[in-house]
């Protein structure tokens, strides 16, 4: 089964993402910040990582940068969750090694379409 790591410090966002992805048949592991996500990613290889940008402890951009240095995550799709008001974050995320982004707010269909496209 395709396992996705969903990283967001907002519990409600995380739950929404996890719920939506689970409903679409993906396996989801949740992490509440970058550091927790990094620990989890070190223990198993996820097929895709979906990370919020603004988080305490370790932000999403630092997480992506760290993940890209790990052999297991050399090519793994790493998606950032950004808002339309912070376009510079997209580019910052990209140069850290992110594959792409999803703009909040998004609806479940947009989320699933994007994820499926990337994992195709």
């Amino acid at each position: 089964m395709t396992r996705i790591l969903a990283v967001d410090d907002s519990t409600s966002m995380r739950q929404m993402v996890a719920f939506t992805l689970k409903a679409a048949g993906f396996d989801v592991v949740e992490a509440e910040d970058g550091r927790v996500a990094l620990d989890l990613a070190a223990k198993e290889k996820f097929s895709l990582v979906l990370a919020d940008v603004n988080m305490p402890n370790m932000d999403g951009i630092t997480l992506v940068r760290n993940l890209r240095t790990m052999p297991d995550y050399k090519f793994t799709p790493l998606l950032m969750l950004t808002t339309e008001s912070t376009p510079e974050k997209k580019m910052e995320g990209k140069s850290a090694g992110a594959t792409g982004w999803l703009i909040k707010p998004f609806n479940p269909d947009q989320l699933i379409t994007t994820i499926k496209r990337v994992l195709a």
Binding site: S10, T11, F19, D52, N54, T99, K104, I112, T113, R117
Partner: protein
């Protein structure tokens, strides 16, 4: 996909109120003129995540307002704006306004629009007067949807590194193909010889002719993720029927063309309105409305049962139509009850989701290593039960980590992984939910528990079964930890945990293997509103025994019943000696059978102990609607509630936990 977002609302409100508290206290800490950037960042983050959640969950007024806050904070954060007392005051007042908006959204009441509008105007004014050297505003390109079929020439030359960002040109070109018709020409000029090539570098480039009825923005969106990782040119070669785009007014029939060519909606630039309209499938309703609905359905179930009972006396042949109608009513009432109950169901995730952080923080504090495994997070449980089980679970998880999981060196010495595992599991079992908290720690120490119990003056037999010994950890003030820690203290809380679970009509069982860990199993009713019960009679009275507590029922032989001096009677059931408790005596009833061999024994079980309740007869099994005795009369020991039977009589529901405790303890003493 239809997903009901309302299930996340409560969490969203909770975290947003928390976020506001964080903003408030951080704002109060801000030093005017010498603002700490970390503090500003904290405030920004709170506003930012509140905005994201609000927009996602459809609270657009909150999203709109927090957007202004975020913009202001972003200017402060990036140094474009100095932190002034005026701005801080404005932000503090804004926190109050957002709190008001959230409260209104949560309680479905009207917000104080006047103060919202006033502050919004002030914020906008402040933003306009921003002494910003670069325009912070991001003007979203006005999207003019070009409906005519355009011919685009696209040159896509990825940089060498493209693959390493996780992107695949194949995916991008495939997506482009969904916009319309295209011809792709491969440019292999830069392709090196196999010998010197790096398999992970991208050397290919493409020239694409796209005939599509789409705007530049749609084409750009396909390449959005790789724009900075490639050389990209998008040229409009020929614009067919371009006039149609400008003179949009008379083009009423145009959209039909778009539909025929189909598959295009996905490519249209996503906008916030679409996102929010997708959630219109749900409405928020106050819990008190649902509660009253549940109550009414409960009454309906009782009425239905009453009718069924009356009808049982009628001749089914003579009243065939009535009978058919009644059985239909029975089915419909049941489905209705289930449907209403399901409104209040929430996934266990609501409680479980707090534990990953808890474990990480606590493990760090204790110098231990632990991971959390969660199983069955989507198992649903009544909202009222889920809210009340959160604290007990919290205690149990803390306890497992504090007392169960060993220090890494101890674990390694015992041949275990240095990192312990705590497992949270939830699953439905019939009409109940089973929640398990288990760890692979040291397990409970039988000898130590017995010694400690004796020291505390608790009577316990040296050869009592394990189940009974493990239950000692729930005794008030009981703790076996050698050191008192500030994590789970001195066993304080464990007795409360058990009380809370029992108050929910639940049971707690423990299994433990020395050196291998322990498991605490909690069985809870799915809802506090209905109960599967066995009705039994004693004299004229009917009592309801919760079905999940009934182990078996039997008619005893006279020789199996023994009297023990000063301790009442016991009964032998397949070699097991159990206290015999005549219900007649427990509730001081004037009638009912007194000789055990003439009555029925119902063996009830709680916390690993059993007693045999003596009743006259088994009447039947039925689902009953629980009515609180406390709120309608007063609390009675041994009774957990009442219900109304089909014939209109009131039957009392037995409190199994209390009955077992009172009588099994007497026995041990």
């Amino acid at each position: 996909m239809e997903i009901d977002f309302s299930r996340f609302h409560q969490t969203f409100f909770e975290e947003s109120f928390e976020g506001l508290d964080v903003m408030e206290s951080a704002l109060l800490k801000l030093d005017i003129g010498n603002a700490d950037s970390e503090i500003i960042n904290t405030i920004f983050r709170a506003a930012h995540s509140m905005k994201g959640g609000a927009a996602t969950f459809g609270f657009l007024d909150v999203a709109g307002f927090t957007h202004l806050l975020e913009t202001l904070l972003d200017q402060m954060r990036s140094g474009q704006r100095a932190v002034t007392q005026h701005d801080v005051d404005l932000l503090l007042r804004s926190v109050d306004v957002v709190r008001g908006l959230l409260t209104a959204a949560r309680d479905s009441t009207a917000a104080d629009t006047q103060s919202v509008e006033q502050l919004r105007a002030e914020l906008e004014q402040t933003l306009l007067s921003a002494p910003s050297d670069k325009p912070a505003a991001v003007s979203a390109a006005p999207v003019v949807a070009a409906k005519a079929s355009n011919h685009w020439h696209i040159r896509f030359a990825p940089h060498r590194n493209l693959f390493r960002g996780g992107n695949d040109p194949l995916r991008i070109i495939r997506e482009l193909g969904t916009l319309g018709e295209m011809q792709v020409t491969l440019d292999d000029q830069a392709l090196p010889s196999f010998e010197v090539a790096d398999a992970e570098d991208c050397y290919l480039a493409w020239n694409i002719e796209l005939h599509a009825e789409c705007s530049r923005a749609s084409v750009l969106e396909v390449f959005a993720w790789v724009e900075d990782e490639s050389d990209l040119t998008i040229e409009l070669v020929q614009e067919k029927a371009a006039a149609a785009v400008v003179e949009a007014k008379p083009e009423v029939t145009k959209p039909q063309l778009a539909v025929i060519q189909g598959g295009r909606e996905n490519a249209a630039p996503a906008d916030a309105h679409k996102a929010s309209s997708g959630e219109s499938g749900s409405i928020r309703v106050g819990t008190e409305k649902i509660d009253s609905l549940i109550n009414l359905v409960g009454e309906l179930v009782i009425t239905q049962a009453m009718l069924a009972q009356q009808a049982a006396a009628l001749d089914p042949v003579l009243h065939e139509k009535l009978m058919t109608g009644l059985s239909q009513l029975d089915r419909n009432t049941r489905s209705m009850q289930e449907a209403v109950m399901s409104i209040r169901m929430l996934p266990m995730d609501f409680v479980f989701s707090r534990f990953p952080r808890l474990i990480r923080d606590l493990a760090g504090k204790l110098g231990k290593q632990a991971r959390l495994v969660m199983v069955g997070e989507s198992t649903e449980l009544d909202k009222s039960v889920i809210e009340k089980i959160a604290d007990p679970l919290n205690h149990l998880v803390r306890n497992s980590l504090d007392h169960g999981i060993e220090m890494p060196d101890v674990r390694l010495a015992a041949g275990k992984d240095s990192s312990g595992t705590i497992t949270l599991k939830a699953a439905h079992r019939g009409g109940s939910i089973m929640i398990e908290v288990s760890d692979d720690g040291r397990g409970l120490d039988r000898a130590k528990l017995i010694a400690k119990a004796k020291e505390r003056g608790i009577t316990v037999s040296d050869n009592a079964p394990d189940g009974e010994i493990w239950q000692l950890i729930f005794a008030p003030g009981f703790s076996t930890a050698e050191k008192v820690t500030d994590i789970s203290g001195r066993g304080v809380g464990m007795d409360v945990v058990k009380k809370n679970i029992q108050a929910l009509g639940g049971q707690v069982d423990i299994t433990s293997v020395d050196g291998r860990g322990m498991t605490i199993m909690i069985r809870l009713p799915l809802t506090l509103a209905i109960l599967d019960g066995m009705s039994v009679s004693v004299g004229e009275e009917i009592f309801i025994v919760p079905l999940n507590a009934v182990a078996e029922s039997l008619q005893p032989r006279a020789e199996d019943v023994k009297s023990i001096a000063g301790q009442g009677r016991v009964v032998r059931v397949r070699g097991e000696i159990l206290p015999l408790v005549p219900l007649r005596e427990v509730f001081h009833l004037g009638s009912g059978i007194t000789e055990p061999q003439k009555g029925i024994l119902v063996l009830i079980e709680s916390e690993g102990r059993k007693v045999a309740l003596m009743v006259d007869e088994l009447v039947g099994q039925q689902q009953v609607v629980i009515k609180s005795l406390e709120s309608n009369y007063r609390r009675i020991s041994g009774i957990s509630g009442a219900t109304i039977l089909g014939d209109g009589r009131v039957a009392l529901i037995l409190d199994v936990g209390e009955l077992v405790r009172a009588n099994a303890c007497d026995q041990a003493a």
